[in-house]
């Protein structure tokens, strides 16, 4: 199984791998969610959705569906 942002635990850091899915909105890329950048999970709301991330220095929250489309490598 692939590891995605949705699999991260609180405080865990990871590197974003290739982004291929069309589902990922451009806006998310523009906010710093790009291949090679570091992502850290800061907080999760109940039931792990939405999740609150620090991506490349930007703080943002996204829903689980999108988070589970972004493949990462835990560091």
């Amino acid at each position: 199984m692939k590891t995605t942002i949705a699999n991260l635990k609180r405080g865990q850091r990871a590197l974003i791998k290739e982004i291929t899915s069309d589902v990922i909105p451009l806006k998310l890329l523009e906010m710093g969610c790009l291949p090679g950048n570091e992502v850290q999970l800061l907080q999760a709301a109940p039931f792990q959705c939405p999740i609150y991330l620090n991506v490349n220095g930007s703080h943002l929250a996204i829903r689980k569906e999108i988070a589970s489309q972004i493949e990462v490598q835990i560091i």
Partner: protein
């Protein structure tokens, strides 16, 4: 008049554009709308040295020129249209020193448009705390621009910014990065076909779906081979472009920005641990809501009582100062009570906007969105619907507009449709006066009273009905739309006093003048309708009463005459005509008149009653006392008792009585279908519930 320098403030949301704008313009500003759409347009004048002036425009926040919302379209449409009267002589890109990397993405795009650009790096006061050092000369050179290091909070750096604006002719106009090198063949061909155009502009025209003025679009239309084949191809290209830009930015910042992580201290992590906590987060949100209601009901009652008495006094004083006559009657019985009916709600509306703007300024509102998203989605809404629903407690109009940043159309439509159920400020006048009449003024515990708890219940009822109908709509509506949700979580800030004050004043003013016009017009019409009658009964009231009730005292006779006149006036007949419809709800014909007149706007209800009850009476008395003394002719008890009071409260909680909201919903959904559905559904619900409740309680 000397030519003004036209300046546009551009930047990501929350970078401090509005704060910088407020500092530049002071109170010399005005808020309007862009023609045709309801995006707020803030403009103002800034005095530079030697009589030179600058016209400053505060544009909506945008993350990039790849527009994904109506607000963002405004920015790109302006920047691509040289003929627009607001087209900037100089673009001021406002950035936040803590988020410089992300903020610079937009900056590189603006530079590509070849407009003279100044970079404001704001929030300089936070640099120490975050361990940030900047190499300004290096950044200026690499980014090919002039930089103003500003702290809007400490009011530092504004003079430098003004100087840069004044000498805008010296600013470099060329791009700082070649971001379009990711597809060399394509762009070479494009350049050859349109040698006189800026390449990036052409690229925007090709990729963006916005309303361009004439020439740009046509020229590109005649070259179909430049169209991007598929959406995924387009996205791939835009991704490459974004990566190019970030590569450049990373490279520059590696040299120009040093962050000493060890020196960095921050409240963010600590505060987030509590405010987004699975239990405490919700608990704190609930307590904040409680506080807001307490302020609106209890704290604002003191200034409101004073205003109420002041208007009663004013009416009386005018009456004794001026000679008697129909014109003076119109002023003292129509206009003054009508105006009083609206001025009295200023304290509450101001409190509400005060809380909302503090919550937004502090960065807390985003945490609420985060906490509520999952819950709201169950009902077909989004976490972002919370802001409209909370704003809806002030007014449905800004609330409907605040749905714009909900990316998913179905969630947005549902939010728009249910927002009018939330308890807007216009319902408060009705609620407050009815609550004061029928709910006992006693304390439960030592802070809450029955009255404020009732008001809180009504707020929850409005919110609950909104959410319940959302759930229903989510089941009924068959709309497929791509769901995505991205929200920035800004750092926590202590709100800037000046921003909050300006916001509260502006919003309150808009409400008072907007509603005030309608209320004033309606109270004049009502007064006329109440002061004349269609037949002789009205004109001969004195004689009829005098012969019928010979043995009454003079004062009692006078009261009889007044109510006889009202009953036989135009409005009396109108009220009588609808009495059969409203009687099962526990209302008499006077309340009926109030309901008819408040179909244009709810807050008219109290003004109407004020007008009706002061027509034909001389004593200085407040509306509330007057209403408490009303007798229901059928039961012989007070007209406003528990059953009819609750029925009236519920009627106003559910009914759609606001023409402005219907108009805005039409504009935002682009069809009459939705506002009409709202009107019918809400009115039917209101009538049904009020009927059932009255019949049970009476």
């Amino acid at each position: 008049m000397a030519k003004q320098i036209k300046v546009s403030l551009i930047g990501n949301p929350n970078t401090g554009k509005t704060s910088v704008f407020n500092l530049l313009t002071g109170l010399n500003q005005q808020v309007g709308n862009y023609p045709g759409i309801t995006v707020e347009k803030k403009e103002g004048i800034c005095k530079l040295s030697r009589g030179v002036k600058a016209h400053i425009l505060d544009l909506p926040g945008t993350y990039s020129l790849n527009a994904s919302s109506v607000d963002e379209n405004v920015v790109i449409e302006l920047l691509l249209n040289k003929k627009d009267k607001d087209f900037p002589d100089v673009a001021v890109v406002v950035s936040d020193v803590e988020n410089l990397k992300r903020n610079l993405l937009l900056f590189t795009q603006i530079k590509d448009l070849e407009i003279p650009t100044i970079l404001v790096i704001n929030m300089a006061d936070r640099m120490n705390r975050k361990g940030i050092t900047l190499d300004i000369p290096l950044l200026e050179k690499e980014l090919n621009t002039k930089i103003a290091l500003v702290s809007a909070r400490k009011k530092e750096g504004i003079d430098e910014l003004k100087k840069l604006i004044e000498s805008h002719a010296l600013l470099p106009k060329t791009p700082c990065v070649d971001a379009l090198s990711f597809a060399p063949d394509y762009f070479d061909r494009l350049k050859k076909t349109f040698p006189n155009q800026s390449l990036y502009k052409l690229w925007l025209v090709i990729t963006q779906d916005v309303n361009f003025r004439k020439f740009d679009k046509q020229q590109v239309d005649i070259a179909p081979d430049f169209k991007i084949k598929s959406e995924s191809e387009l996205k791939r290209l835009q991704q490459k472009e974004t990566i190019k830009r970030y590569q450049f930015i990373n490279d520059v910042l590696k040299r120009g920005l040093i962050v000493d992580e060890k020196a960095a201290t921050g409240m963010r992590a600590k505060l987030d641990r509590v405010l987004t906590h699975k239990f405490w987060g919700y608990f704190i949100f609930f307590m904040i809501l409680l506080l807001i209601f307490q302020a609106i009901y209890d704290w604002s009652s003191y200034p409101m009582d004073m205003i109420d008495e002041a208007f009663a006094w004013l009416s009386e004083a005018t009456k004794s100062a001026l000679p008697a006559g129909p014109f003076v009657d119109l002023i003292t019985e129509g206009i003054i009570p009508g105006l009083g009916g609206i001025v009295i709600f200023i304290p509450q509306i101001a409190f509400l906007f005060l809380f909302i703007s503090i919550l937004e300024e502090s960065g807390y509102m985003s945490r609420v969105v985060f906490l509520m998203d999952r819950v709201m989605r169950r009902f077909g809404l989004s976490g972002k619907s919370v802001v409209p629903l909370v704003s809806g407690t002030a007014c449905a109009i800004p609330a409907v507009m605040a749905t714009r940043n909900i990316e998913n159309w179905k969630e947005r439509l549902i939010t728009i449709l249910v927002v009018p159920f939330t308890t807007c400020a216009a319902r408060l006048p009705v609620y407050l006066i009815i609550i004061a009449l029928v709910i006992p003024d006693e304390k439960v515990g030592w802070i809450f009273s029955y009255q404020s708890l009732t008001l809180m219940f009504l707020y929850f009822l409005g919110f609950g009905t909104a959410v319940g109908s959302a759930w229903l709509l989510n089941k009924i509506l068959k709309i497929k739309s791509k769901s995505y949700f991205v929200i920035e979580m800004p750092g926590y800030k202590i709100p800037l006093f000046k921003n909050v004050v300006i916001n509260v004043v502006e919003k309150t003013k808009a409400f008072v003048f907007g509603a005030g016009k309608i209320i004033l017009a309606i109270s004049i019409i009502l007064w006329v309708l109440a002061s004349f009658g269609p037949n002789e009964n009205f004109n001969n009231a004195e004689e009829i009463i005098a012969t019928e009730y010979v043995d009454l005292s003079e004062e009692e006779q006078e009261n009889k005459i007044a109510s006889y006149k009202l009953e036989h006036s135009f409005i009396g007949y109108a009220g009588k005509a609808i009495e059969p419809i409203v009687a099962p709800l526990g209302y008499d014909w006077k309340i009926g008149i109030g309901i008819i007149s408040s179909f244009a706007a709810r807050e008219v209800f109290v003004g109407t009653l004020a007008t009706i009850y002061s027509v034909g009476s001389d004593e200085e008395e407040t509306i509330k006392n007057r209403m408490a003394a009303e007798i229901n002719p059928k039961t012989g008890g007070p007209l406003f008792n528990f059953a009819s009071g609750i029925s009236l409260l519920l009627f106003y909680a559910f009914a759609m009585q606001c023409m402005s909201t219907l108009a805005i919903v039409k504009r935002e959904t682009n069809s009459w279908k939705w506002p009409m559905a709202q009107l019918i559904f809400m009115s039917a619900l209101a009538y049904g519930v009020a009927l059932i409740v009255y019949q049970i309680l009476k």
